[in-house]
Symmetry: C2
Subunit: 405 residues, 2 copies
């Protein structure tokens, strides 16, 4: 059973390093914005230079590069509900609000020592950031970037002392909730922002060391991967009173495996009809589960250790990226035959990929080639090769309109 | 088996009444556009005045009214892939391109005598219009509004003469295809725009008088309702070589029924998990089918003859509007209990409804109250009541990024 914790709302942001809210930083271009739709824009993280490339998916071009985001290793991005601004979550705890139309930074808060990502609430009013150091979640107003709620990730250690856990797997869920996991504590918390006061529910003993999580496209199932033991922790947000269940009990250590070069990402789980496609840990396989009962129904051999396993929006294909040393290739699985139908070599150190909203193209970042490569997903024809500085994450604005993205 | 028909591409638009492309009409406001994101914009059809209301779903306001669209009874709207422009399909055969940022009409073509809707291709380059009079489909370039392809809906009547059928149920599908149905001919055609030359495939004898159709969210199944006989026609676009199958054999005339005040819309089919919710014809019921085998698995009693049956984006609720004389109320079904959990009375002559992209709100048009009413879908609290002239269809820009919408 969840435990309800009403929280005190913080109205002042005194403890934060609030920089430059509402004004452009020197690093930006200073150009006036262009009158244009924002439905075909996107952001590519350039990790080496702490910059981002603003891209246009219709023209397949880089519109401009914007600097001033701090440490962007493992950075991620969420878009405001009007698809005008991107919030960039930096590894250095920086939360930066970028105006996609002007290319200016409209606000930047260094809100912790080390953060790993966040989410924007269903109603668009709040942005939550999950922190490693010192742990916890901070929630800001998306308009003003003022701190609204500070949720310390306190838990009781075996010796009785209270300390903070690292927070991972922060997602938005329907009902204006945020859901996230506490690594050291083995807990999953939900933060309900729908009322006048936020309400915190805690699910305890969900499993050892949840290290990442995903939420299904309808916002119903929150699934956390466990670093410290086998299996995964599933919370059905339609029935939180049922508590957290364990699924896929052999997932992880239970499998005899190769050395793990990199833990796979969970956000990339692909759903196609009743099937969920996801990366095996350390094995050269994509696993297939029946999403009705989360039983394992198949293993698809692939050319390396899978990292991101993502379905094309029409669910007919699943595209897979890989860990070192097999990270120069991308494979495509047909969700009907469950076979690899294509292997592509876009460049060196493939880190991320993003489908255009209706799936006709895919954009792939080849970090060590300093390129983003665009393919036609039907013909596998290469359509464009765009310059970017050590590109990693690619995020398109249609995510603004999707639950959990 | 489909029959392939290569088509001649038309490069000139000589046969069309091309009006005012690229310039504003006198009816528009003339204001300069506002620099803003287009992700939270929408269009409400004002049928009595041939105008539309541009709306902002964040502020929940009408930004402006724009006139000059001709006859907007049964009008529908599609958005360009950058979410800057709306194409409005008028009943008078008018295809009008509206700039959401400036409120100006960027082009208008009266391309037939009577049209019922259309679709924009997956790659955003083409807009197809289905016509009643004289029948057929015309495809235009979304940028220039020049005619690209003219597809007469020719078929052979029983007496051997060739004539055109009314075209209904035009949708976009993955692979840059359009799919549509021929009412008098009983055929479903696909038009593939992915190559240098368009390719037409015809499925014949699909059933008597397909009158409307839908495509599932993943773009796989095209389902046409039949006016002239029982059942529905299903085309699996992943396996077009399997031909068109009949599903739900008792749907329609086979059921003992009340007088039908209005044929239900099919575009509104709600999918929630494995279940499809759809309106019974003439009965006070919402039907539930298993989408794995399309068998009927349930009937949910409702307060009138259902017209639009639409699922909230998180699939937990299905919202139902009704035919006269029960069209002053809207009912909400819980997709878990399969029971009506709420009945709302937003106003007189409820015609359409649209969820905000992540489902926190719903906008409902009450034509004879001259209002659009906004509700919180969790609490059912009324949030806003906006003025509009005989509002009917409501369309939000996130549709730009969805297959079949």
């Amino acid at each position: 059973m969840p435990i309800a914790h009403p929280l005190k709302t913080l109205l002042a942001a005194g403890a934060l390093a609030l920089l430059s809210t509402g004004q452009a930083l020197a690093e930006t271009t200073g150009q006036n914005g262009e009158l244009r739709g924002t439905g075909d824009l996107g952001v590519v993280i350039e990790r080496a230079t702490g910059s981002v490339a603003l891209v246009d998916t219709t023209a397949r071009t880089v519109l401009r590069h914007v600097e001033g985001f701090g440490d962007l290793s493992h950075a991620s991005v969420k878009f405001t509900r009007d698809a005008r601004h991107a919030f960039v979550f930096g590894r250095d705890g920086g939360l930066t609000k970028l105006d996609l139309l002007t290319g200016e930074i409209d606000g930047r808060v260094v809100q912790s020592g080390n953060s790993i990502g966040g989410a924007i609430s269903q109603d668009g009013r709040f942005v939550a950031v999950g922190n490693y150091e010192p742990g916890g979640v901070k929630v800001f107003d998306t308009e003003t970037m003022e701190l609204v709620v500070d949720v310390p990730a306190d838990y009781e250690k075996a010796d009785g002392t209270i300390t903070q856990a690292k927070v991972v797997g922060v997602v938005d869920a329907p009902g204006n909730r945020f859901v996230f996991s506490l690594f050291e504590a083995g807990e999953i918390w939900t933060l309900d922002m729908s009322g006048d006061e936020p309400v915190l529910d805690k699910h305890r003993d969900v499993g050892r060391e949840p290290y990442d999580a995903l939420i299904t496209a309808n916002g119903r199932y929150y699934i956390a991967g466990l670093f410290g033991e086998d299996g995964m922790a599933l919370l059905d947000l339609w029935y939180p009173e049922h508590g957290v269940q364990r699924i896929l009990p052999d997932y992880g250590q239970g499998e005899e495996r190769l050395p793990v070069y990199k833990m796979p990402h969970l956000e990339g789980w692909a759903m196609a009809g009743d099937l969920a496609f996801f990366p095996a840990v350390g094995r050269h396989e994509v696993l297939v589960a029946d999403s009705d009962d989360w039983s394992l129904v198949g293993r698809i051999p692939v050319q390396g250790q899978p990292i991101f396993v993502m379905s094309r929006p029409d669910e007919r294909q699943v595209w897979v990226t890989f860990a070192h040393p097999d990270n120069g290739r991308v494979q495509v699985i047909d969700t009907q035959s469950l076979e690899v139908i294509e292997t592509l070599a876009p460049g060196e150190s493939i880190l991320h990929k993003e489908f255009t909203p209706r799936g006709e193209h895919i954009w792939i970042s080849a970090r060590d080639s300093n390129q983003v490569v665009v393919y036609d997903t039907r013909t596998f024809e290469e359509l464009a090769r765009l310059p970017a500085q050590s590109p990693s994450g690619i995020f398109f604005t249609n995510r603004a309109h999707r639950i959990g993205l």
